[in-house]
């Protein structure tokens, strides 16, 4: 088990500084002026050399956004956002499009190294570790790194191309595969969907695009690392993943951000489209700056993630590990449209300090004999508030549908809160929905037992919490399990003792 051992060793080697990703990379960036207007939307579109229809799409979204109101139903509380006081576009200056990693700004590479994401090494590792065509799962990862708003490094392109898989920045997809983008963009999360998604539609700067052709099993895990770096830069990523009939892809998304004093807005949109007999596995590790102990600073994360099982026997699996952000507003959802389609949601949400998490999922059963499974593990420490909010619904036509939901909450310390808000709607009589929920406290006895065996309070907490979230951690690809375990340990520092 070399991978397991490596995991263990990496976890062991964690530097236990408080938020250690709080550094700023010094790179000149090219910004649009502050504020939001039609001109800014045009500026972004022009920067990307987008086709006319794309500009029209953005402008339509922008005009709609002007008529909308920020939602207030979530259990989060934050100062009002001045949308005119933000930058909507920032790009690291590059001489020309990079041909290889050697041409990437060394500052950026250094940043990723600090984060433990050495692209070079990953590329090397991937070349050596496995033989061609070996399907033992594991350590091959293609990384499309998003630094601020523009993708700066893309690896493994050649090999993916051989399999016919398209994996590129969405701006590039708009140029090279406009018909595919036009066919699917906004079909799962329409421009009118919600306040933040509509804003994203107007101003998104970049993101990833994936198309897996019919019958193709993507030969490696796809990965994107997001990172917010520029001061006062709103981040509006747009991801579109299409799994054509009978295909399979596993996509990993991971995020860390440098320490900043001001609140930073992030409103991403992710759309997944899965056709007949295809499957998308989408995993996230999110570790944005949560703010300081008093709740100052930190990222506001308002994300719309939704997948559409558009064909029969389609499958979507969301796995998320949420440890960062001051405010998290996020409900990765599945529309189970095709008959026999399946949706899964595995979540670990950790909050500490003054963090506020309102997260969960929606499983919307439209097709017959569709099934879904929700496993949510919420961990609240410090003075944080952690809410699970979920909807499971079965349409009148969706006969024979099944759902199993399990929501567990773990409280650490006396000042935090955990809340579970499940909505369940069954509009036909053959539906079977199950819901289980527990809330527990991490006991002093348990911690003392671990400490008597030599573990520090932090190590003991991390061990107990890792046990609590094990069911979900097991769903993550190995590469992310390492990062997730690190984050769990780091994000709970200072929560005990």
């Amino acid at each position: 088990m070399p991978a397991v051992q490596e995991t263990v060793e990496q976890v062991r080697s964690i530097d236990v500084d408080q938020y250690k990703y709080g550094f700023v990379t010094d790179i000149e960036s090219e910004k649009a002026p502050k504020g939001l207007s039609e001109d800014i939307v045009r500026f972004i579109s022009a920067k990307k050399s987008e086709p006319e229809w794309m500009l029209a799409w953005r402008l339509d979204a922008y005009r709609r956004w002007l008529t909308m109101k920020e939602p207030t139903w979530a259990r989060v509380d934050y100062p009002s956002i001045d949308y005119q006081d933000l930058y909507y576009y920032a790009a690291p200056k590059t001489k020309a499009a990079p041909k290889s990693l050697d041409e990437i700004d060394p500052e950026i590479l250094k940043t990723y190294e600090k984060l433990g994401i050495p692209l070079r090494e990953q590329e090397l590792l991937a070349g050596v570790v496995r033989e061609e065509g070996s399907d033992t799962g594991g350590s091959r990862v293609a990384v499309d790194a998003v630094f601020d708003s523009v993708s700066v490094a893309t690896t493994f392109k050649a090999e993916l191309a051989k399999a016919g898989v398209i994996f590129c920045p969405i701006s590039e997809a708009l140029r090279d595969h406009p018909d595919l983008v036009r066919k699917y963009l906004g079909t799962v999360v329409p421009t009118s969907d919600n306040y933040f998604a509509t804003l994203n539609s107007a101003v998104f700067s970049d993101g990833s695009f994936v198309y897996v052709p019919e019958g193709v099993r993507c030969p490696m895990e796809l990965s994107t690392y997001f990172r917010i770096n520029e001061q006062k830069t709103g981040q509006f990523e747009r991801t579109l993943i299409i799994a054509d009939k009978g295909s399979y892809v596993s996509y990993l998304e991971g995020c860390t951000a440098p320490r900043r004093d001001e609140n930073q807005l992030h409103a991403a949109v992710v759309e997944l489209i899965v056709l007949d007999d295809a499957e998308i596995k989408y995993s996230t590790v999110q570790n944005w700056y949560p703010g300081d102990a008093e709740g100052k600073g930190g990222i506001f994360n308002f994300v719309t993630k939704r997948g559409d099982c558009r064909g029969k026997n389609a499958k979507i699996s969301w796995t998320q590990v949420e440890t960062g952000s001051a405010i998290t507003w996020k409900y990765p959802s599945c529309i189970l449209r095709g008959d026999n389609s399946r949706g899964e949601f595995y979540s670990i949400a950790i909050s500490n300090g003054r963090q506020q998490v309102d997260s969960g999922t929606k499983m919307i059963h439209l097709g017959r004999n569709t099934s879904s499974r929700i496993i949510s593990k919420g961990i609240a420490a410090g003075r944080s508030q952690n809410t699970y909010r979920g909807l499971v619904s079965a349409h009148a036509r969706a006969t024979g549908t099944r759902n199993f939901t399990n929501c567990d909450s773990l409280l650490i310390g006396p000042h935090c809160g955990a809340h579970t808000v499940p909505y369940i709607e069954a509009k036909n009589s053959s539906t079977v929905f199950e819901h289980e929920a527990t809330t527990s406290k991490i006991s002093d006895e348990m911690l003392f037992y671990c400490r008597q065996r030599g573990m520090s309070a932090e190590e003991a907490t991390a061990l107990v919490v890792n046990g609590f979230v094990k069911d979900v951690l097991q769903q993550l690809p190995m590469e992310f399990a390492v990062e997730a375990q690190k984050l769990i340990a780091i994000s709970l520092e200072g929560s005990v003792g």
Binding site: M1, V4, Q5, V8, R12, S443, D444, E445, M446, F448, Y449, C450, R451, Q452, R453, G454, M455, S456, A457, E459, L463, V464, N466, G467, F468, V469, K470, D471
Partner: protein, 252 residues
Amino acid sequence: MIPLLQIKNLHVEVGGRKILNGLDLVVDKGKVHAIMGPNGAGKSTLSYVLAGKPGYEVTDGEVLFDGEDVLAMEPDARAARGLFLAFQYPMEIPGVATLTFLRTAFNAQRKKRGEPELSVPDLMKRVREIAAKLDINPEMLRRPLNVGFSGGEKKRNETLQMALLEPRLCVLDETDSGLDIDALKVVADGVNRLRSPERGFVVITHYQRLLNHIVPDVVHVLAAGRVVRTGGKELALELEATGYAQYQAEAA
């Protein structure tokens, strides 16, 4: 020679209630000391104070482990110095495989002592060897720590941890409780294998029967928070015959 453990005039309160009341005890390397006494005498409190459990307030006295004041140390620092407590009621930790727990504890201690961590295969080899001697099914090592374990399995698991961590002072708190005679023998054999000229034991028990298997060098009677009588192993037999009533009366 500095004694392995030296407790001087120890006074301890829990929630404002006085439990230990001027306890003195000296344990040398290589010796097994049994602490016997009636319920409520403060036996478990003694074990918790030694290990550093929060909530136990030392109002007077001192505890020296190898000449060092341990009362000022965090529980994990005491453990890393070689102080081990076999719990009367070992905790269950859901989702954490026994082997993972062992590895985490083992390497945490080594790290604190500035020693290199042991690789997973090396550690597994050691654990398997010890487990075999304690009649522990390797399958148990994959199960979450103590979850759904029988009383015997839990105590064998404590003994396994003790053997793996190789402490210099082992405190056994009512290790015989919840054990049938066969399990008791396995656990006692495990403890006896660990006896060495470098290691000391404090065996806390209410009953004499454990001491038939783990034969002590010294027996102390604890009543109302202090040692009221000290003798050889024959003292345990005497107590079995006479009971604790006289000491309770004496202390009161």
